[in-house]
Every structure is written in C-alpha cells, then in structure tokens.
C-alpha cells in the first residue's frame, strides 16, 4: 500500500475551511498520545491546556494580552509569505523594536505622558523596520538568502538585549537583577479594559482591519499576491520585485517592532534580558494556520495564545515541562502544512501492481 497524491481539477473550497480545523484535531490527538506515553493524565492535561484558561476572567484578559503580540506579528508575516519572502526573524525585529522604544524611558525616566508613549511606539516601529530593512537590503542588493540572514539576526538581537539589560541599562537600585528601572506610569500603555487588558489589543485589532483592507481592496495587496503566485506574471505586469521585498519586510518588521515595545511598555513594565517567550516564532505558525488571511490569523492567534496560557497552567498543576507547548506548536504547523495540501490534491491509497497480482492469485 502506498499513499499517492492526485491533483484536483480545481482547489477544493470545502478543504480551504476544513484543513485548519482538521490540523487542529490531528494535533490534539497527537498531543493526547504524547501525554499518554509520558504517563500523564491526558484528559486533565488537555483540560488544563485548552479549557481551564477560558474559565476565569483574569485568564481571558491574559489570553488577549498574549494573543495581541502574536497576531500583530503574524499579520505582518502574512504579507511576506504571500509575496514569497521568507522573513523568519520576527523574533529579532521584535527585540529591535523593544530596544529602540525603550531608549526614552531608560535615558529620560522623568519625561512622562501620552506624547512620550506615542514617541516610544513610533520608535519601536522604526526599530523593527530598520532591523528588517537589513535582510531586505542584503536580499535585493546581494541576492543573500533571507531565511538565513533573518534568523542569524535573531541571535544578534537577543545578545544585544542581554547585553543592554545586564550592563548599561541595568537599574543601579535593582539589587543586581538584570533589568532596567521600572518604566513610569506615563511611559506605560494604559489599561483599557478589566485589570490588565492594555491599549495594544486595539493596535492588534486595527492591524487586522487594515491588513484585511489592504489584501482585499488595494492594488498593493494584489501585487503582493501576484508576486507570490507567479513572479513572471508580476514582472510582465511591470511590478518591481525589489520594491515588494522592501515593502513586505518593512510592514512585518514595523509590526514586530510595535509588538516588542508594547511588551516592555505593557505586561513586562521594564527592559529585561528576555522580552519575548518566542512570540516571533509562534507568529509564523499563526500566519500559516490562519491561511495568511487576517481573520484566520485572528482566530489562530487566540488558539496559540491559549497554548501558551495552558502550558503555564499545566506546568504548575502537573509539573509538565514548558517545552511541551513548543512541541505542540511545531506539530501543529506540520499538520497545517500537510492538510493544506488536501486543498489542491486528493489522497489516494495505491496498491503496487505486484501485490495485487499476488493477492489475486491467492
């Protein structure tokens, strides 16, 4: 018996909707099996992971705060992947945004108020954009593979964050902890809902809306998609490939930078050695799970934020390693990609001819 793919006459509309759901179900089943193998109460673990965080008010607020950066970044990455630009270094662009935006509160701690906050946000966006412009420039000018350059820059950015938090930016009154002095109330994103939902949730919703409008209703959105699907057609259409590469990188870098400054000027509250638990990588999964569509990304981002929340809960309640969350996320991406194939192909089980002959004779 052998699995074969058979091309469908046209892409299946049913599978477009079903494939992400199928991927989630398969990932949950595999997750269940992993827990059974690890001799952990699998049902309780799944409950802790995916249901328990939804039962309390504070945890739903926390969920939104975790989903906000992931969705913000994923919306930007979707532009890249549609244009066939492989920016996988959003984690580094997030760090660059956090660094750039933190310049003001670190060096001018007494300057507080809405105008400072607005400046911090803009600087965060600019930091992310500048950092993403490096691989874009190297790709356009020197033909350097952006997958590798963006990823190398993640390591560089994280080392810079580590250096800044431990040495020049360290709070002298902070008992030697590797973090800056806490930001002042006028340098923090205001809480807009409940006890902990901050303004960045609005940024996230705006980004989703604008991205939806851009992809569906503007020429730029159309050009980006043409580039991904048929670079030759785009060239004949007179669209500039280099311009597209810059655009995709600047949009995704800017959004990742905004996510970065919103983390330090939000839930974290100061600058420290780690500014993100891997949101930049999770966003890649979210972009694909959401089928590179803003609305899909919104839903996918909430699910993956849930896995972060659940991971923390399960770690406390059952002593499960926090790496379990990463295993789930990686697995989910595999399933998403495999299920997406079903949109264009049908799976067929083929018996090799020899085997058939033997069974016929028997």
């Amino acid at each position: 018996m052998q699995l074969r793919l058979e091309r469908r006459a046209e892409p299946s509309r049913k599978m477009m909707v079903l494939s992400p759901l199928l991927a989630i179900v398969l990932a949950l089943v595999t997750f269940f099996i992993i827990f059974v193998v690890m001799r952990i109460d699998a049902l309780q673990a799944l409950y802790l992971y995916f249901i328990d965080p939804l039962t309390q008010g504070w945890s739903i607020e926390d969920l939104l705060m975790k989903a906000a950066p992931i969705i913000l970044i994923a919306v930007g990455l979707a532009f890249c992947y549609q244009a066939n630009v492989w920016n996988i270094g959003a984690e580094g662009q997030l760090a660059a945004g956090a660094i750039a935006g933190s310049l003001l509160p670190v060096y001018y701690p007494h300057w507080q108020g809405p105008e400072v906050l607005a400046l911090m946000m803009l600087m965060g966006i600019a930091g992310g954009m500048l950092y993403a412009a490096i691989p874009a420039f190297l790709k356009n000018r020197f033909n350097a593979n952006e997958t590798l350059t963006t990823l190398m820059l993640v390591y560089v950015a994280n080392l810079m964050v580590d250096y800044l938090a431990r040495t020049p930016w360290r709070d002298p009154n902070g008992h030697n902890f590797p973090n800056s002095a806490p930001f002042g109330p006028g340098q923090m994103l205001p809480v807009i809902f409940g006890d902990s939902v901050r303004l960045n949730v609005i940024f996230m919703l705006l980004a989703v809306l604008i991205a939806w409008f851009m992809t569906e209703r503007t020429l730029t959105g159309f050009q980006i998609r043409v580039f991904g699907q048929s670079p030759r057609a785009a060239a004949f259409g007179g669209f500039s490939r280099k311009r597209m590469v810059y655009l995709a990188f600047l949009i995704s870098g800017g959004l990742a930078g905004l996510a970065g400054i919103c983390e330090v000027a939000g839930p974290i509250g100061n600058f420290r050695i780690t500014v993100s638990p891997g949101y930049g990588f999770t966003a890649i999964i979210v972009a694909f799970l959401g089928r590179l569509h803003p609305v899909g990304i919104l839903l996918a981002g909430l699910l993956l934020a849930l896995s972060y929340m659940g991971g923390e809960g399960a770690q406390i309640a059952l002593g499960i390693s926090d790496q379990t969350t990463q295993v789930f996320q990686g697995m989910l991406l595999f399933y998403v990609l495999a299920c997406d194939t079903l949109i264009y192909y049908r799976l067929k089980l083929v018996r090799p001819a020899k085997l058939e002959a033997v069974t016929a004779a028997g």
């Binding site: 350059t149 820059l153 790496q323 990609l337």
Partner: protein, 306 residues
C-alpha cells in the same frame, strides 16, 4: 601542550559538529530538498545521544542513538515534504520548532547531569610530535569519522553512479522521473541521511564538545551548517574549509572573551552569526559562481503525475 596546539585542537572540535550537519544537508540539497530543520534534528540528536550514553554507560551507544534520533527526525520531514508535498521552507521551520521542543521535553531530567565524554586517541610517538602531534594524531575518534565522511560524501557524489543519479534528481526531477528513477524514494533516503548526519553533529555536542545536556545547546549551529552549504557552493571540500573557518571564528571569539579587551562578551558572541551573514553576502553576490553548483530543483516540490 602549547598554546597554538591547544587552539588548533579546539578549532577542530568546534568545526566537527558543523561539518557533520553540513555534509548531511549537502546530500539532502543535492537531491533537491532544502531542509531548514537541521537545528531541530541536531537538538534531538544531542538529547537522544546523551540519554542513551547516560543509560548504558557507553559513549558509542550514545553516538548510535544520536544517529537514530536525527534520522527519525529526517524521516518525519521526508514524509511531510515528499508524501504530502508541503512547502519546504515552512516545513523545515516546523521541524526546528518541534525538534527544539522535543529535545527540551526529553532532556529536562538530564539538565546538570555530568556526561561521559569521549577520550582522545593516543598513538605512541605520533601523538607526541610537537605542534602537529595532538591536532593530527590525537583527536577524539569522531573527528576522524567526520574526515572520512567528507571524503565519502565527495566520492559518492562525484565518483559513483548513485551520486550521479542523486545529482540529476536534484537538478531536474521531471527528467529524472521520466528516465524511470524513483525521485521521491531517493529524496527520502537523502533526507534521512541528512538527519542522521545532523544527529551525529548533535551527539558530538552533547558527548564530546561539552559533555552535558542543556536547553538550546545547539545555539544556532544547525542554521550555520545550512549557511555553510551555500558558502561551500555545494562542494564537500569547500564546506569542510568553511567549517574550519567557522570553528576558528567561534574559538577566537571565546578566547577574546577570556582575555577581555574590554569588549562585552555578548558583543563578541554575535561574531559567528554576523560572519555567517557577511559570508552569505560575499558568496551570493557572485551569481555565476552559485549557478554552477546549485541544484536547479532545490526547494521545489515534486508530485509524480501517475
């Protein structure tokens, strides 16, 4: 042991895991499959090797387990990318995320446990020669394995008919398929071999280089290995030179950290990553040089039409 001798020795040990992983990736890429999951395969190889060596007390069992762990990850990638014809970029990323998570999950209980280590060989007289004695005749056995592997990979690719078939599949899968070669089967074997090599590289890290297990101990070496394949323009001996150069950079920056020079350690630690970028730029800007040896079907999916 003199200072120069010591530095040469450590440069070679730093180059070895990179070279293992890069040679595996070379075979996969020559067959037309771009596997960005090397980092994940290395991480899994590192933890399975450490666990097996720790359980049995034999480093050799650890090495075998590293190979098996890496090969299993390669097989997983092969199934997803070849049977389900998924996008190779994204699937490789998934493999890295999955592998790093899985290695953390398995390795959690080994954190801080001392490892076995592997003894360097000692040949009377030869190993005691000044300067060249230790670096050439007194390394650990896996260094000699990676040298043999480099020669073997070169021989296979350019001196055997199997290598010719592999390269033709990487250059034009449609023609190779029309000639009756089993494109997907051969690619699958190439990817599994790549995984096994990455697993060896990981095993070297946790058994020899720093005999212990730590979360994210691969520290981007899998990605550097992928860059090395580009740096070496898909030729084994150039990749080997590249690995030694990278080994040298990482050792020199470590020594610079020890001496201080007033430069923060984190800034020095960025050097291997920055140099990877610089090297990529220098190689990639020469499009003619790249075109000669880049497998023409690299990264493109293939679905047989019957």
């Amino acid at each position: 042991m003199g200072l120069v001798e010591g530095i040469l020795l450590t440069i070679i040990t730093a180059a070895t895991p990179l070279l293992f992983a890069a040679l595996g990736e070379l075979i996969a890429e020559r067959s037309g499959v771009l596997n960005l999951g090397v980092e994940g395969m290395m991480a899994v190889g590192a933890v399975t090797a450490f666990a097996a060596a720790n359980a049995t007390g034999y480093s050799i069992v650890g090495v075998a387990a590293g190979i098996v762990g890496g090969a299993a990850m390669g097989a997983l990638f092969g199934v997803v990318v070849l049977v389900f014809a998924t996008n190779q970029n994204a699937s490789g990323l998934a493999l890295t995320l999955f592998g790093l998570g899985l290695s953390g999950l398995i390795g959690n209980s080994y954190s801080g446990v001392p490892g076995l280590g592997v003894k360097n060989i000692h040949i009377p007289f030869l190993s005691d020669l000044p300067l060249v004695g230790r670096p050439i005749f007194g390394e650990d056995p896996m260094v000699y394995l990676v040298v043999a592997l480099t020669i073997g990979v070169w021989y296979f690719l350019f001196r055997t008919s199997g290598g010719l078939v592999l390269r033709s599949i990487g250059d034009n899968h449609a023609s190779a398929h029309a000639l009756g070669y089993r494109v997907l089967r051969i690619r699958f074997l190439a990817v599994v071999f790549g995984g096994a090599c990455a697993g060896l590289g990981g095993a070297y890290l946790s058994l020899v280089y720093t005999p212990q297990w730590a979360q994210a101990m691969t520290a981007g070496r899998g990605w550097i290995a992928i860059a090395l394949v580009v740096f070496g323009t898909w030729l084994p001996w150039r990749i080997a030179i590249g690995a030694v150069l990278f080994g040298a950079v990482s050792i020199l920056q470590l020594n610079a950290q020890a001496f201080g020079f007033g430069i923060p350690s984190q800034i020095l630690s960025t050097l291997p990553y920055l140099i990877t970028i610089v090297v990529l730029v220098v190689i990639s800007r020469n499009r003619a040089l790249l075109k000669v040896n880049t497998p023409a079907s690299l990264g493109r999916t293939f679905v047989p039409d019957n």
